[in-house]
Amino acid sequence: MIRTYRAELRRLTSRRGLLVAGFLLLAGGFGCPALVFSAAKPAAQVKSGGSFSPTVESLSAAGGGTQVFQYAAAFMGTLLFVLFTGLFAAEHARGTYRTMLLRQPGRTGLLAGKLAALLTYAGTLLALLEIVMWVAGQFEAGNGVSTAKWTSGAAIPAALGDYLTVLAWVTGYAVYALALGILIRSVPIALAVGIGWAGPFEHIVSDSWTAAHHWFPGLLLEELGQGGTSQESLAKALATTAAYVLVAGALTVVAFRRRDVSA
């Protein structure tokens, strides 16, 4: 697992990959805060229990600087899911799982190493993104948002909380994407199933079945990314998602260990 982890990190941190990530980091880091500020409304104008919307008051609080990051991340859920699913399924389509298994035949270790490396890489990028957004937010704050409290002592635990929430949210998406990629193997089918399920299907069903927010993995991840909602608390969303992640991980490992890798 350690060798896979190091090899995967080496692959993810290739010069070209870092250049692309750096560009996206700066573009997202400076672009997203402006969007979040422009979408902010006074709390009084935001419908209770409505959609996940930034308020002038929450963004002006001590943790507002990093809440910008949390809001921005929440909007990128589908994009991230598509990216992860594509990454994992493409390894099958390209035959690189076969190449890796010739060097690292321990299949559980291979998957664990790959996932750990991806989360390390994503975790580092997210930390940098949070910092960039905080700095950018200082310059871009507007629409009635004040940044005076962002440098107070209370901002640090708030920043950590926001970071861990987003990291847990990303981990959930990564494990679901890995499961889809390994179980389905085909990039277009994995993407179609993933997007179809987490996008239209869950949302359409949730309109008529309110308990969907307690049970559907995509909706739970959305609630997790928002730090909990009126429909599901953060703790419950986290616990249910953790259980789903364990089940998805176990299914993935069993399938990968049992299957022939002939592609």
Binding site: R3, T4, R6, A7, R10, R11, S14, R16, G17, R94, G95, T96, R98, T99, M100, L101, L102, R103, Q104, P105, G106, R258, D260, V261, S262
Partner: protein, 306 residues
């Protein structure tokens, strides 16, 4: 001689379709073994089973003395190229090898030498995705050589190579064999393997048809003598001369092909030359044809069909 690879009753079935049937094969340590068979004969599946990628339906196999159910015990000493090389298109040739070296726990300092060996030293910074099929194949060989493996399993390594590339690949395989490695190399191009292999495994329809020394396989077939005359009409008269000598012959459009059997081919050719001259027939060709792996293989397949 110890065996680098041995299988007993190795079988792979996908549903009702049997891809590899009861394969018993051996590859002695140090041999360059050619794995020959038509497309779809089961070569790649057999190799995939030996590499722990595909689980056999039945049977057993040992690679470097270890069971294929535990590939982690031997894969560090095995270099393999299975089908087309599958590497990361966005990474350079060198970075791809570095990732694989890290993955396998091999010394990355050997990478420049390997790139030099396969003729890609000046393209080491180029992305794999931009390589031609031949260059990808060569990088796949370099990847297989990481860790200085004792056994190499190469599936159709000349796929996509131009004639010069094929020649270079044969030279490379010969060089690798001279370094006391065992090599199992598959191909459906018989002439390609004939020049480098000293051990042969022939598979057809998922069944092993022959497994043994290459020389014995070709040698098990008798040579023939091919005759041509100056005047095509003399070919009939020549056929009578051959028949009078008690020999069987077949006729092509402009040749007579004489079955030598267990007789001394050179002596028989001299005798036929003398008989033709006595009959007033001028020969323009008199050639003893030794069986090649290809001719012996084709004869074997034809006989099976018959």
């Amino acid at each position: 001689m110890s065996e680098a690879i041995s299988t007993t009753g190795l079988t792979k079935r996908y549903g009702a379709r049997t891809v590899v049937a009861q394969a018993d094969l051996t590859v002695p340590t140090g041999a360059v073994a050619g794995f020959i068979g038509p497309n779809g004969a089961g070569k790649t599946t057999t190799m995939a089973m030996l590499l722990g990628l595909v689980r056999p339906t039945a049977g057993q196999a040992l690679v470097l003395g270890q069971p294929i159910s535990a590939p982690e015990r031997y894969l560090r000493r095995v270099g393999a190229l299975l089908e087309a090389p599958a590497l990361w298109p966005g990474l350079s040739a060198e970075d791809n090898l570095r990732v694989l070296a890290e993955l396998g726990g091999h010394d990355a300092r050997d990478i420049p030498r390997l790139l030099e060996l396969v003729g890609l030293a000046d393209r080491r910074a180029d992305r794999f995705g931009r390589f031609s099929l031949g260059m990808k194949q060569r990088l796949g060989i370099a990847a297989a050589l990481l860790g200085d493996p004792a056994l190499m399993i190469l599936d159709e390594p000349t796929n996509g190579l131009d004639p010069a590339g094929m020649r270079d690949m044969r030279a490379l395989i010969s060089q690798l064999a001279s370094e006391h490695r065992t090599i199992l190399v598959s191909s459906h191009l018989l002439t390609e393997l004939e020049q480098v292999c000293n051990w042969l495994i022939i598979v057809d329809g998922g069944r092993i048809q022959y497994c043994g020394p290459a020389g014995e396989f070709a040698g098990s077939q008798h040579p023939t003598i091919e005759l041509a005359t100056l005047e095509p009409r003399d070919l009939l008269a020549l056929a009578d001369v051959v028949a009078a000598a008690g020999l069987d012959a077949g006729r092509t459009r402009d040749h007579l092909v004489v079955e030598v059997g267990d007789r001394d081919a050179q002596r028989l050719a001299a005798d036929l030359n003398q008989r033709a001259a006595t009959a007033g027939i001028v020969l323009t060709e008199l050639r003893v044809t030794r069986p090649t792996i290809e001719s012996a293989y084709l004869r074997m397949i034809t006989e099976d069909v018959a």
